[in-house]
């Protein structure tokens, strides 16, 4: 059991997501930074889809009432155990009664806490992920609060052998830099003028305070739409289209872009102009408010290659951790 002393700003239980229900308006939810979530699980001997705790900007304070093996990845929230600083991207042993404390994120926006055996909340529609809008999954369908008690699953065999395993630096992402976020333009981007399409991929955008698990609203230059007689059913604003499905990662354009993420609204009537590639969605989710975002236009082959590269990287990480065992 993990006993929550302080819940942080927005800490939720997440796995890799809930699938097969998008057509009734149910987004996948799941970890915003899948790479960090998955590595945390590997470091404690879990499968990639075990549930972790995703913490946003400010971490939790919690105690353990049994001996456990944990790992913290993602944003750096200066974790400490009983007041002593501990490493991130590293397998750490905790003893019953230990107090874990995380502070504010200095780099990145979201940290992940994995425990050997995974956070064992009940599955809802095949997933343990929290979806707070309708209050399902995770711990009572909401963010963690003081006094919450989270059960820990049975680990196949307690991976104490992994304790001390540290991820090589080359596999630790740098969240502070301003790597471009790659986008495949398309969907209904015919609504934008050619100039605005170019501006989208050249301008400096900044993450607005309205950035959460549903989506990241970005601030930047005005976008312009091509003039047309609006088709029947679309609505009168030039940004309006007949309501359609929004892919995860898609950029919808009600004047200012909103990139839809894991708790996305699944559809709506604003023009969509492109989709952030799956390999880069976690990078965007780690970008703090007021930081810059630059989009880079890529084709689908590059998007597929980047996904493959990310998957192979995770396989390498898993193999390295297992061989360190």
């Amino acid at each position: 059991m993990i006993n929550i002393q302080e819940g942080g700003i927005a800490s939720t239980v997440q796995d890799l997501g809930r699938f097969g229900h998008y057509h009734i308006g149910m987004p996948p939810s799941g970890a915003m930074d899948k790479y960090a979530h998955t590595v945390a699980n590997y470091l404690v001997g879990n499968e990639a889809d075990a549930a972790t705790i995703e913490m946003t900007y400010q971490g939790i304070t919690a105690t353990f009432d049994e001996d456990d093996v944990i790992a913290i990845t993602g944003a750096d929230m200066s974790p400490s155990l009983n007041g002593e600083s501990i490493g991130t991207w590293e397998t750490v042993a905790v003893d019953a009664g230990d107090e874990l404390e995380l502070a504010f994120a200095t780099e990145g926006a979201r940290a992940y806490l994995a425990v050997a055996g995974g956070i064992d909340v009940p599955e809802v529609m095949g997933s343990r992920s929290t979806y707070t809008l309708v209050g399902i999954g995770g711990h009572e369908g909401r963010s963690l609060e003081e006094g919450d008690e989270l059960p820990i699953g049975e680990a196949d065999d307690t991976p104490t052998d992994l304790v001390g395993t540290q991820l090589d630096d080359e596999y630790v992402p740098a969240y502070a830099d301003e790597d471009t976020v790659r986008v495949v333009l398309g969907l209904t981007d015919y609504r934008l003028t050619e100039e605005s399409k170019e501006t989208l991929c050249e301008a400096e955008w900044t993450v607005s305070p309205e950035a959460d698990r549903i989506g990241y609203r970005l601030e930047g230059p005005e976008m312009e739409f091509k003039e047309r007689e609006q088709p029947f059913g679309a609505g009168t604003d030039p940004s309006n289209v007949v309501d359609l499905g929004y892919p995860i990662g898609s950029i919808q354009m009600p004047q200012k872009p909103i990139v839809l993420l894991q708790d996305a609204v699944t559809g709506g009537g604003y023009a969509t102009v492109g989709t952030v590639i799956s390999a880069d969605r976690g990078l965007l989710a780690q970008r703090q408010t007021h930081k810059s975002v630059y989009f880079e236009d890529v084709d689908v082959d590059e998007a597929l290659a980047a996904r493959k590269e990310r998957d192979e990287r995770l396989e390498t990480v898993q193999a390295k951790i297992e061989s360190a065992d």
């Binding site: 009734i24 399902i136 969907l187 088709p231 029947f232 059913g233 604003d237 309006n240 359609l244 990662g249």
Partner: protein
Amino acid sequence: MASEITPKELPEPRYEYGADDHVFVELAEEMSFTANFKAMAITQQVAERDIDGIIENCPANASYMLRIDPGVIHPDEVIAELKEIEAATDIENYEWETRVIDVPVLFEDPWTHETLMEFRDRHQDPDGTDLEYSAQLNGFDDVESFLDAFVSAPHMVTMVGFVPGLPWCFQMVPRDQQLEVPKYVEPRTDTPSRAVGFGGAFSVIYPVQGAGGYQLYGRTPIEVLDVDQQLSDFSDSMVLPNPGDILNYRRIDREEYDAIREEVEAGTYEYTTEQVTFSTDEFFESPLEYNDQLTEEIV
């Protein structure tokens, strides 16, 4: 008034990549039953084929979208299969099993009235109500006759989404009888749960309280989302509407609203529904008569 619906000639579908893991297909830029039935027919075929690597299969109003696992199937393979399905799909003579659902609505209710008055500064017509504005814009003398038109024919669920359980519905009448209104100039930050709204050519029911930009007309006492699945009609799914369902809005008074609400809150309310086979041909041929036939059991 037209007494039949002429199927539309649709343009060539546009196949678009949603990055590496989605395929989006736009069947038409404008809304029509032809485009919507085609989206439903194709996505039903996709489901039946049970193609490996398809994770989500989502029909929408005049388009559809799939989420795929590109580690299992390449997006181009998916598109090739979709083109093959598209070529083989003829919505003439198309039928599917669906439900007609009775949706009681208290129009001009106190809750949506309070909300719409609060956000008057975001509306095209700050001096009227949403219903007065919509009636005038669509050439009706008064709100009563506008509401008569709104409930005169059922509305088909042509898409579900935004949030879990929200149905977009398209009224089952010929184009010249379709109502059309703009969305709010600036979206509201609040909408009561179970509000019945209208925007573009679509009626919606808001499952939960939240933001919204549709014109507000009334409130239904029944739920479209039941997360705890307390009501018996939600035993299979926490969401009531499915694409292809037919909603029959019915005007009720405050007394009936309160009585139904009490049953819903007690978890004892049973929805009035009727299983029907929907035939595109019969609908296009004489929509108004066909609607009467579809709804006769529940009225």
